[in-house]
C-alpha cells in the first residue's frame, strides 16, 4: 500500500516515462500484427540490433571528431538510418533462389550484434551511460523523447491509415497484388519504413528486449482472440499499451527491472487470449 502511495506521490517523475512507454507499446503492438502475419518476427530483432549498432557508430564517430558524445539527436538519426535502411533491405529484397530470407535476417542480426560488442569495447569511458543510450531507460525519459515518439506515432498512424488497403494487399498476397498492378515493393517498403522508424525511438525509451516483445506478443495474443484484421490491430495496440503501462507501474511498485516486467506482463496476456479462443471454438 505504501509502495502505491509512494508511486502516486512521485507522479512528476514517472509521468513522462509512463506516457512514452504506453505510446511505444501501442505503436509496436499495432505494427506487430504485420510483423507476425508476414512471418518476419526476427526481422524486428535484427532491426533492433541494427538500431543499436547505429547508436554505437554515432558515438564512435563523435568521439573520433573529438565532439561531445551526449548528442542524443545525432544518435537517433544514425540509429534511424541503420534501422530504416535495414528494414528496407531485409523486408523488401529477396535473395533470389540461392538463399532463404531468414539467412539474410540471421546474418544481419549476428553481424550487427558482433559489431555492437566490438564498438562498445572501444567506448569504455562512456560505458556507464552506454547501457542507457543503447538499451533505454524507461525510468527517466526526458519530455523531448515523448515528443519525438508522438511525432513518429502520428506519422506511422497517418501512413497506415492512408495506405492501409495497399499495405494489407501487398502483405497478404504479394504475387497477386503484383500481377494486378500494385507496386508491392513500394508498399512493402512503406511498411518496413514505419517499422524501421518506430524501433530506434521505442528502443531508446523502453529498451531492446521490450521492443522485440511488443512487436510479437501483443499481436500474437490479439490474433488468437479475434477473427478480423482491424479488430486484431486495435486489440494489439491496446495490449501493447497496457503491457507497457502495466509493466512500468508494476516494476515501480515491486522495485524490479522495468523492461523485463513489461515483457512478462505482455506474455501474461497470451494465456487469456488463448483461453478465449478455446472457449469460442
Amino acid at each position: 500500500m505504501s509502495a502505491l502511495s509512494d508511486f502516486w506521490s512521485a507522479a512528476v517523475i514517472w509521468r513522462d516515462p509512463l506516457v512514452a512507454s504506453v505510446l511505444a507499446g501501442a505503436l509496436l503492438g499495432f505494427l506487430g500484427v504485420y510483423v507476425v502475419l508476414r512471418r518476419v518476427v526476427f526481422v524486428s530483432a535484427a532491426l533492433t540490433q541494427l538500431s543499436t549498432l547505429g547508436v554505437i557508430v554515432s558515438l564512435l564517430v563523435l568521439e573520433r571528431l573529438d565532439l561531445e558524445t551526449d548528442h542524443q539527436e545525432v544518435q537517433l538519426v544514425v540509429a534511424w538510418i541503420f534501422s530504416v535502411g535495414g528494414g528496407l533491405v531485409l523486408g523488401t529484397l529477396g535473395w533470389g533462389r540461392r538463399l532463404p530470407t531468414e539467412a539474410g535476417v540471421g546474418m544481419a542480426y549476428v553481424l550487427a550484434g558482433a559489431l555492437v560488442i566490438l564498438g562498445a569495447n572501444r567506448l569504455v569511458h562512456v560505458a556507464h551511460d552506454l547501457n542507457t543510450m543503447v538499451f533505454g531507460n524507461a525510468v527517466a525519459v526526458p519530455f523531448q523523447d515523448v515528443v519525438i515518439l508522438l511525432v513518429v506515432t502520428g506519422l506511422v498512424a497517418g501512413l497506415h491509415t492512408l495506405f492501409r488497403k495497399e499495405i494489407v494487399f501487398a502483405s497478404f498476397d504479394r504475387e497477386t497484388a503484383e500481377a494486378m498492378g500494385l507496386r508491392v515493393r513500394l508498399w512493402g517498403g512503406v511498411l518496413f519504413f514505419t517499422i524501421g522508424l518506430a524501433i530506434p525511438v521505442a528502443a531508446h525509451v523502453v529498451g531492446a528486449l521490450p521492443v522485440f516483445a511488443f512487436l510479437t506478443v501483443p499481436a500474437a495474443a490479439a490474433l488468437l482472440a479475434t477473427r478480423r484484421l482491424a479488430a486484431a490491430q486495435a486489440l494489439a495496440t491496446a495490449l501493447g499499451a497496457v503491457s507497457a503501462g502495466g509493466g512500468y507501474v508494476a516494476s515501480w511498485v515491486l522495485q524490479v527491472p522495468t523492461g523485463a516486467t513489461m515483457v512478462v506482463v505482455a506474455g501474461a496476456m497470451v494465456l487469456p487470449a488463448w483461453a478465449w479462443r478455446r472457449l469460442r471454438a
Binding site: 502475419l37 492512408l162 495506405f163 494487399f169 497477386t176 498492378g181 490474433l223 478480423r228
Partner: protein, 254 residues
C-alpha cells in the same frame, strides 16, 4: 481482332538466364488459352512474362494499352493465417482500381459482392477466408480476380490439390465466365486432363526439351504430340462428350 497482349519471338527467363527462346503467342479478347507442361517446365515464367511481370530477355511483349488483369494464384500460396473475411479478400480486387490513398467506395463493395455472387458464394461474404473449403477458397480467389473487372483472367494452376469434384466445379465455373463474354482466360496447369475439355487453344511448354508449341485444342490433343511432351505414351479418348487423357507405360522420348 487486335490481340490483348502478345509475345513476339520472346526469350523467357530471369536474372539474365534464358529458359526458353522463340516464344510467340497472341492472346485475343475472347481467347481461352491453356498452357500445359511438366512441373518446372517454365509455365509460370511464361505467364509472368505475358502479364508484364518479367521482361523478356529478347524479343518483345506488346499489350493493347493498359490491360486490366484478374489474377488467380495457386490456392496454397495464399496465407490462411490472416484474419480476413471472404468479403475482405474479394474486395482486394478493387484496390488497384481505386488508386493509392483513396478509400474504397460503396460502389467498390457492390462490385465485390456481385463478383462473389457470380462464383456462387454470395452468402459467404462474412465467413472467415481461412475456414473455407479448398474449392470455396479457389472460387473466392476467382471472385477477387473478377472484382477487378478484368479483360484478361490469368490463373496459375487453379485446380492444384483439388479433389475431382471440386476441380470439375472450378473448371465449369471458368467456362461459364468465359462464355459470358468479354473475358480472355489464360491458365497454366500441369494437369492436361483438367483443361482438355475447356480450353480453345493449348500451348505446350517445356524448357528442358526447348519445346514451345501453341495451336487449336483439337490439333494439339493428338496422342503423338502429347507423348512427345510427356515422354510417355498418351491415349486420348472421348466418352459422353468429354475428353479423357491417359498417360500409359513406355518411354516415348529418347
Amino acid at each position: 481482332m487486335a490481340a490483348l497482349v502478345r509475345l513476339d519471338a520472346a526469350t523467357l527467363g530471369y536474372g539474365g538466364r534464358a529458359l526458353l527462346a522463340g516464344v510467340s503467342v497472341a492472346v485475343d479478347p475472347e481467347d481461352f488459352l491453356a498452357v500445359v507442361g511438366p512441373n518446372g517446365g517454365g509455365k509460370t515464367t511464361l505467364l509472368r512474362t505475358l502479364l508484364g511481370l518479367l521482361p523478356p530477355l529478347a524479343g518483345a511483349r506488346v499489350a493493347d494499352g493498359p490491360l486490366p488483369v484478374g489474377y488467380v494464384p495457386q490456392r496454397d500460396h495464399v496465407d490462411s493465417l490472416w484474419p480476413l473475411s471472404t468479403g475482405d479478400v474479394v474486395t482486394m480486387g478493387r484496390v488497384t482500381r481505386s488508386g493509392p490513398g483513396r478509400r474504397l467506395s460503396p460502389g467498390d463493395a457492390e462490385v465485390a459482392r456481385e463478383a462473389l455472387a457470380r462464383v456462387g458464394l454470395g452468402d459467404l461474404w462474412s465467413r472467415s477466408f481461412g475456414t473455407l473449403s479448398g474449392g470455396q477458397r479457389q472460387r473466392t480467389l476467382i471472385a477477387r480476380a473478377l472484382a477487378a473487372e478484368p479483360r484478361l483472367l490469368a490463373l496459375d494452376e487453379p485446380t492444384n490439390g483439388m479433389d475431382p469434384a471440386a476441380e470439375l466445379g472450378a473448371m465449369d465455373l471458368l467456362r461459364e465466365l468465359h462464355a459470358a463474354g468479354g473475358l480472355a482466360v489464360v491458365m497454366v496447369s500441369h494437369r492436361l486432363e483438367a483443361v482438355a475439355n475447356y480450353a480453345r487453344r493449348l500451348a505446350f511448354v517445356d524448357k528442358d526439351q526447348g519445346l514451345w508449341k501453341v495451336g487449336p485444342l483439337a490439333e494439339m490433343l493428338r496422342p503423338e504430340a502429347l507423348s512427345r511432351l510427356y515422354g510417355r505414351h498418351v491415349i486420348v479418348r472421348e466418352e459422353g462428350g468429354r475428353r479423357f487423357v491417359y498417360p500409359v507405360g513406355g518411354e516415348e522420348r529418347p
